[in-house]
């Protein structure tokens, strides 16, 4: 197992190198110029050119790439063209809200989805199953922003129970922290809940048709014991996979949710940086996202070995 993990970690290096290469050149080939945005509306072409020269953007692209890679190898992701702050600082500032939103969303999604999926499979093709799946389809089909605005309208504006927007770091108090995450987690979690519930149901149906489940039932085991201990554990591999995909997607930014609830996470940082053509920030973010996806995939793969003893690396 250890050698497998080491091999997988080394395999990420060429992946990251390719990502770095692509993101750098794609950004440079895309239309737009940060110097023009910085110089502002009243700037002349000459003053834009002067800003571009000072930022080093007039240098040959290959030279810029070599400089950036050189910095990266020293652990330096560069400095934002606009704010003059280190990219690492900007990403670090946004990491906590994103991680908090990811975890709380998964909590909401998994807490709802697994019971719904298990019950739906247990009562397959009965009214409970159909209601559960109708709920899942509705949750999956409803755009997050629509649900978000509905939640804001009722829970924040009408009943004034929760804040409309913003993120309160945990160091500023536990309750404000929780309060700021309830609505975004529910809005986002419903979509993931629907996805996980459907996968759980499908996977459970497959397992429940196995001979050993019939044996367990026939020897008189309690239903909950059969469902949770015997069936769910063996149905877990596809469920874990879809949860893992969810984590990777959430970490790389859920722009709509972050925008509607004004959560200063990585998703909004990415969109803002792209719109402003803040090259160093976009480059740094894409590398972080790529790294996070590789890491999540690795963790998922390792978890298979614990969930299914037949899988060995």
């Amino acid at each position: 197992m250890t050698s497998y993990i080491v091999r997988r970690l080394f395999a990420t290096l060429p992946v990251m190198a390719v990502v770095a290469l692509f993101v750098f050149f794609l950004l440079r080939f895309a239309p737009g110029d940060p110097a023009a945005i910085i110089a502002g509306d009243d700037a002349t072409a000459e003053s834009i050119a002067a800003v571009r020269a000072k930022l080093g953007l007039d240098r040959p692209m290959v030279e810029q790439f070599v400089v950036w890679v050189g910095q990266l190898l020293q652990g330096d992701m560069g400095v934002s063209i606009f704010s003059n702050l280190a990219v690492t600082r900007l990403i670090a500032q946004r990491l906590e809200p994103t991680v908090a939103l990811t975890l709380s969303t998964l909590f909401v999604a998994v807490a709802l989805a697994i019971p719904i999926g298990v019950v739906a499979a247990w009562k397959a093709r009965k009214l409970v199953d159909r209601l559960a799946m109708a709920f899942a389809v509705l949750g999956f089909a409803m755009p997050t922003f629509v649900l978000a605005y509905i939640l804001i309208y009722f829970f924040a504006v009408q009943w004034q129970l929760l804040p409309v927007q913003g993120y309160s770091p945990i160091r500023e108090g536990f309750w404000p922290f929780v309060e700021s995450l309830i609505l975004p987690s529910v809005a986002l979690g419903i979509t993931y809940m629907a996805l996980i519930a459907r996968i759980t149901r499908a996977s459970m149906l497959e397992v429940l048709a196995q001979d050993y489940i019939r044996t367990a039932n026939s020897k008189g085991l309690a239903t909950d014991r059969v469902l949770l201990l015997h069936a769910l554990k063996n149905a877990a591999v596809p469920i874990v996979t879809v949860i893992g995909i969810g984590i990777a997607l959430l970490i790389s930014g859920v722009v709509i949710t972050e925008t509607v609830f004004n959560i200063p996470g990585l998703g909004r940082l990415t969109v803002d940086a792209v719109l402003k053509r803040d090259y160093p920030v976009v480059q740094g973010l894409i590398l972080v996202f790529a790294g996070a996806k590789v890491l999540v995939n690795l963790i998922i793969d390792i978890s298979y070995a614990f969930l299914d003893p037949r899988i060995r690396y």
């Binding site: 072409a45 934002s80 003059n84 309208y153 129970l161 409309v164 309750w175 004004n262 402003k276």
Partner: protein, 526 residues
């Protein structure tokens, strides 16, 4: 019942809440039109960077509510009889946020940097032969010929303000951003609490010594009204509106026009019309370098495609927030006039096409840079494109985000090689009210702004305005200038509109109308 249950559940969680140390502070939470990403108001002309700048830095002069320059950091000043030498003496008690005193060395270095970067500053410095300190508090500015806009330029409150920085900051290359925002203004920038794209924090400068005169826009006493100002950035207008209604924010600088009826009805929320001339002016810019608009007749033909009501209804909707203005200088401003307005008499697409053909247009594609992500420019561009198509003009509408428009418009190449023919933009009413500050009215050829109108007469009149000694003279020159600029079609105006400020009237006081930039320092909490 549901509400009670949920409230009960929430109450159970209260003991877990940590004490909020900021609860005792008076905090103003304001959502502006953009977020603070750049902390150097001289390096960029971005309005938000200058709103930040106006909190952190002070200026020698400040324009009052009537746009008249009044001394701000300057205690007293003298102008020599020949109007060539200005002697300024700083008032007592001026200190930077790091505790060091403001001296004339700081002032001169700051003015030099601003004068090298800002358009109005460059024009002023074109007249200045030298600036010399007499002592730590007094300095002289000597001009090569009289220039009537010295004080107005030093006190201007739009685009790059003439911010006074520490000498060591002001010596930074104007093409590079200063690293620290340390000024002598009423608020101190808390850089350690800055989260670009989310929040910028300003703390009350307890050492600030305000002037004794009554506050008036950028002039008079700047008395910090709260302990802390947070410029919170919420990119979604609907969320911002809900946050204001819910009392989570106190001040919303530019609510979307669609939401104004809701905000007007919301309990505790007040709307304030922006300053008398702080409207937004819509402008269509033609590229004078390439056919067909290198021909003045083709440019004038475009006037027949502008029905300002169409643009304004599309952008704003409610007539109480817009006005038709067929001039280039802000309507409602001190130099509003009707010079050249007869060129915009009627909407007539057939006539437009006929004149274009007479100017040599043979149906070539006209490249329009169509921004897709701008609240006002996007719909205005669509109205223009529709009018052009109605006339039978071959429109090549190139859709792109605003960031790409600002890049593309700087290209001087022909449209077929990545250039352009038309783009739409806007300008603040305060700057547009003055022929010298209104850079879009200029026609300085290749050295001018995108579109590069080229007319020595326009430039001569702008200079003459700056050198005029009397108000009567200025009024006459302003009219001549607008007439000439409209004949040359430096840009096509498509009207003016206001964006009222929305704020919690039950929570804050002393909100004043914008005059180029938002005036935040005097706002107090109830």
């Amino acid at each position: 019942m549901f509400r009670r249950i949920l409230a009960g559940a929430l109450a159970l969680a209260v003991p877990f809440a940590a004490a909020n140390v900021q609860a005792q502070e008076k905090v103003l939470k304001a959502v502006m039109h953009a977020d603070v990403r750049v902390i150097d108001p001289v390096w960029t002309t971005q309005t938000i960077a200058n709103i930040h700048g106006a909190l952190v830095y002070d200026t020698l002069f400040g324009n009052d509510g009537n746009q008249k320059p009044q001394p701000q950091m300057v205690g007293k000043y003298e102008i020599s009889p020949d109007r060539l030498t200005y002697t300024f003496t700083l008032r007592d008690g001026l200190k930077f946020h790091d505790g060091s005193p403001v001296t004339t060395k700081d002032v001169i270095a700051s003015l030099k940097r601003w004068g090298a970067k800002d358009g109005v500053g460059q024009r002023l410095m074109g007249f200045v032969t030298k600036m010399e300190p007499v002592d730590d508090k007094t300095f002289t500015m000597v001009l090569r010929e009289p220039y009537g806009m010295v004080l107005e330029s030093l006190g201007k409150s739009q685009s790059s303000i003439a911010a006074i920085m520490r000498e060591k900051d002001a010596l930074t290359d104007p093409q590079q951003q200063v690293k620290e925002a340390v000024g002598s203004g009423p608020y101190m920038f808390a850089k350690d609490q800055w989260v670009p794209g989310s929040k910028a924090v300003y703390l009350k400068n307890k050492d600030y010594v305000p002037r004794t005169e009554a506050p008036s826009s950028f002039a008079g006493a700047k008395i910090p009204g709260v302990d802390r100002i947070e410029l919170v950035w919420i990119s979604d207008p609907q969320t911002t509106m809900s946050a204001l209604i819910n009392g989570e924010i106190d001040f919303y600088e530019q609510p979307t026009n669609d939401f104004l009826p809701l905000l007007e009805k919301a309990r505790g929320v007040k709307l304030m019309k922006t300053g008398k001339i702080d409207s937004t002016q819509g402008m269509i810019r033609l590229n004078h370098l390439h056919p067909p608009f290198d021909n003045v007749k083709a440019r004038q033909a475009m006037y027949y495609l502008i029905n300002q009501e169409d643009f304004l209804r599309t952008i704003v909707g409610d007539p109480k927030f817009y006005r038709v203005c067929k001039g280039l200088l802000t309507c409602g401003g001190p130099y509003e006039n009707n010079g050249g307005s007869e060129l915009m008499k009627e909407y007539n697409p057939k006539k437009a096409l006929q004149l274009l053909k007479e100017a040599g247009y043979k149906g070539e594609p006209i490249t329009v840079l169509a921004a897709t992500d701008h609240a006002t420019i996007t719909p205005a561009t669509q109205v223009l494109i529709q009018a052009m198509r109605e006339a039978g003009i071959n429109v090549d509408a190139q859709s792109m985000d605003w960031g790409s428009v600002v890049t593309r418009r700087a290209k001087k190449e022909p449209p077929s090689q990545g250039g352009w023919n038309i783009f739409v933009t806007t300008s603040g009413g305060v700057g547009s009210s003055n022929p010298v500050l209104h850079t879009w009215i200029g026609a300085a050829c290749e050295k001018g702004l995108f579109g590069w109108p080229c007319d020595p007469e326009v430039e001569k009149l702008r200079n003459a305005f700056g050198m005029a000694a009397t108000e009567e003279e200025r009024q006459k020159i302003a009219k001549d200038l607008q007439t000439r600029a409209m004949e040359q079609v430096v840009f096509l105006p498509f009207g003016q509109w206001d964006t009222p400020i929305a704020f919690r009237g039950d929570k804050i006081d002393n909100v004043v109308p914008n005059t180029g930039l938002a005036v935040l320092w005097g706002i107090t909490k109830k």
